[in-house]
Each structure stands twice: as C-alpha cells, then as structure tokens.
C-alpha cells in the first residue's frame, strides 16, 4: 500500500473504521484466581499460586500459645500484592502483634516485614492447573525481637500449585467442584544460629550457648469445595445468595525443620473454614487447630478480609504495571 492510496475516500474510511474498531474494542484482561473455568479464592493460611493485584487487610489471628505462663497472641497483618509484569507479582506484608500474659502488661510490636516475588510459569485451562515459583524474603531486624522477630533474614524459594477437578468424568459430577492448592518451600535462614552469652552472677564466668536456626521445609495444602463452581458449571441446585458464593475449605499449614539438631519435628495447624467470595472482595474465617502438642494445645481463629484490586480499580490494576 502506498501513500497515494489514502487519497481514495473509500479506502481511507475503511482504514479509519479499522483503526477505530481496534482502539474501541478493549483487549481482554485475565486476572486473579482463574485457571480455565475455575475460580480459586485467595487462601487464608497458605499461599495461593496466583500472581494478582490484591490486598489482604486485615488478617486477624488469635491463639493462646503454650508456655509458662501461656500467652494470648493476636496478630493483625496486611499484605498487598501488585502485578508488575505479566504473570509476575510483587507483594509486601507485615503484621502487628499483641502478646498478653496473665497479670502482665501486653507486649506489642511489628513482625518482620516480608517481600515476595511470584511468577506463574505454567497454566493449563482445560485441566484447571496452574503452577508458580516464587521467593519470599523475611526481612530480618524489621520486627520487634522481644516478640520473637528474627534479627536475621530468611529466604524461602517456593513452588506453588493449583488444580481444579472440573475435568473429572461426568459420572462424578459432585466431585468436580473440588480443588487443591499447595505450596512447598524451603526457608533458608541467613544465620545458622544465635549466640547467647550469659554470666554466672556468683562466679562471673561467661557461658556461651547457640540457638540453632534450622533450614525448614514449609509445606501447605488447601482443599476447597466451590459452591460457585457447583452452581455455574455442574448443577444449579437452587442455592441463593450468599450461600451460592461460599467455598468451604480445609487448609494445612506445616513446617518441618531439616537440620541443626531440630530435624523432623513437624509443627503446624489444620484450619477448616469457609470463604465467601464476592465481585470485589472476599471474607474468610478458619479455626486454627494445632496438629501436635509441639505446636500447641489451644484452638485459635483466623479471619481475613481480602480485596480484588484489579476488580475494584480496573483502570489501574487490570493490567500489569509494566508490559514489555
């Protein structure tokens, strides 16, 4: 095509119409929590595999920790995640902790801040599969040490996955709303141990002890049953709002130290609960049940309000901040 061709009014009109239609028709945006037909909610106690723009605020955890004396712990945390490149999200989170022992004044302070970079590297829409990798930097020294915040950093490379069971055969229709998400990470501390120096008041002799900081396998699973999926894709069983947007789930948040004298002692919690997912936000609540006496003996609770930023502010967040 040559420049002179544009002198033809018909051709110019066609070209103008094409250009207008190209700019007027929005390019579709794929966003948080979807793999094919499956919508995965943001899980509460474990991380999910999606790179998305979202805000968890607040997440409130309350549990009584064992010890002498036992303390009542309340943690109020926030986490914001932004899609910076296609399939790549950067998130930052922190928490504010309140520890209260009987007949003592409450101790308060921040946890260590955490920075996470997550990249979705595989998605299969037909089989509702998504896998991601990421790394979390627990930034040492940013929290209050007397509340247990580490003075050293920890890096946790993590593999994340999600699988919906919508591809099960038609003979198993009521199992199709099931989905599983999970994480497998290795928390690597940047310091092998903490040196403690204490002096005997009578002799003045110094004693040095070392508390080991083991490398820890962090693993989590979330098994979900989506009533949204049931209603939309399997069978309209007549559920009405707000029941039709519920996702009952059970999460397993576990840690297994691997070395430095602490190997094999798994701790963690099993967290059954429910998430209600709306158009712009979700709310969820779970019981926190320790898996063994090393973890604790008391039942706790965790609740979260979570916003889909890409739906609330689509002009800002429905696309990555930077697109190569």
């Amino acid at each position: 095509m040559y420049l002179k061709d544009f002198r033809s009014p018909k051709l110019a009109a066609q070209l103008a119409a094409t250009l207008i239609s190209l700019t007027a028709v929005p390019l579709p945006a794929f966003a948080h929590g979807f793999a094919g037909d499956r919508f995965f909610p943001a899980t509460i106690s474990t991380d999910d595999p999606f790179a998305a723009s979202e805000l968890s605020f607040p997440t409130i955890t309350a549990i009584r920790q064992p010890g002498s004396p036992s303390t009542k712990n309340v943690d109020l945390s926030a986490d914001v995640s932004v899609l910076i490149f296609p399939r790549t999200a950067l998130s930052i989170g922190d928490g504010f902790q309140i520890q209260k022992a009987p007949n003592q004044r409450a101790l308060t302070g921040f946890d260590n801040a955490e920075l996470n970079l997550l990249y979705e590297f595989f998605e299969n829409d037909k089989h509702e599969v998504i896998t991601s990798i990421g790394v979390t930097w627990g930034i040492g020294g940013t929290g209050r040490r007397s509340l247990g915040a580490d003075s050293f950093s920890t890096f946790t490379p993590t593999f994340y996955f999600g699988k919906g069971f919508g591809d099960l055969p038609d003979t198993l229709p009521l199992l199709r709303p099931l989905a599983l998400t999970g994480t497998l990470g290795l928390a690597i501390p940047t310091r092998a141990g903490n040196r403690n120096v204490s002096a005997d008041p009578s002799t003045g002799r110094e004693t040095v002890s070392v508390d080991p900081n083991p490398t820890t396998l962090e693993w989590g699973l979330a098994l979900e049953y989506s009533l949204i999926y049931l209603q939309e894709h399997v069978k309209d069983v007549g559920l009405k709002a707000p029941i039709d947007r519920l996702i009952p789930l059970v999460e397993f948040a576990m840690q297994t130290p691997l070395n430095r004298g602490a190997g094999g002692l798994t701790t963690g919690t099993i967290n059954p609960g429910v998430i209600w997912s709306g158009q712009y936000f979700q709310v969820g609540v779970e019981a926190v049940i320790p898996v063994n006496h090393h973890t604790g003996n008391n039942l706790g609770i965790i609740a979260q309000l979570h916003f889909y930023l890409d739906d609330i502010f689509p002009k800002i967040f429905s696309k990555p901040l930077f697109t190569p």
Partner: protein
C-alpha cells in the same frame, strides 16, 4: 494501633461501599438451567451474568453429543439487559447438550465456562 484501626475502618468501608466499578462476569443463572433435565426443546439458550458484557467479545456456543454446533450463531446481548447473553437454537432432538461460554465484562475481564443440560422425551 490507632493507625491500624483507621486502616481497618477504611478497608471495611471499601468492602461495604456500593459498586465503584466493574468486575469479572460470573454466571448468575441460565435457561435451560445448569445441569438440568428438560422435556421440550428450548428456542434459545440464555445466560444471565453478574456484570454487563462487552458485546463484540462475548459468545455462547451449544454442542450436541457428537460435538456438532447446534446453535444458530446469532449470539447477542438482550436489548433491555446488558448482562443477559442469548443464542437461538434449532429444534433439538432428545440428548445431552453442552453450552460453552466465554464472556468479557465491560472492564475487559474474561471469564469462561461450560455446563450441560439434557433434553429427554
């Protein structure tokens, strides 16, 4: 702590405020209903979504058990309801039919899905 409370109140207000934009279009209900058994051939398949749709990029297709498309390929948004997508179908013989949809809400978010219904004599 006061700062946290202020943020919490702001977050709660954000969650409870009226709709400020648009979001993913989820299937609200359909006719024939998802997973239903019906006895008379429908004239059209209609799906009500939770959000207004972008007409150019939204579609419904209906397939029979042999995976042949049986709709009339005239997908359109209802004139009085921008969240209702419709497609006409030819008179259908008894059998199982699969409805496949892919819609784009007006804020450009894409959602997809499929469901079946069965036509029995």
């Amino acid at each position: 702590m006061r700062l946290f409370l202020r943020f919490f109140i702001a977050a709660l207000a954000l969650a409870l405020m009226p709709r400020v934009g648009w979001a993913h279009a989820f299937l609200d209900h359909a006719e024939p209903a998802v997973g239903s058994q019906i006895h008379n051939s429908p004239i059209q398949v209609r799906i009500w979504f939770t959000e207004r749709l972008e007409p150019v990029l939204s579609r419904i297709q209906v397939f029979d058990a042999a995976n042949s498309e049986v709709d009339k390929r005239n997908v359109h948004i209802d004139a009085s309801n921008p969240a209702l997508l419709e497609v006409a179908v030819s008179p259908l013989p008894p059998g199982k039919y699969k409805v496949v949809w892919r819609v784009v809400s007006v804020d450009t978010h894409v959602t997809t899905g499929n469901f079946t219904f069965e036509l029995t004599p």
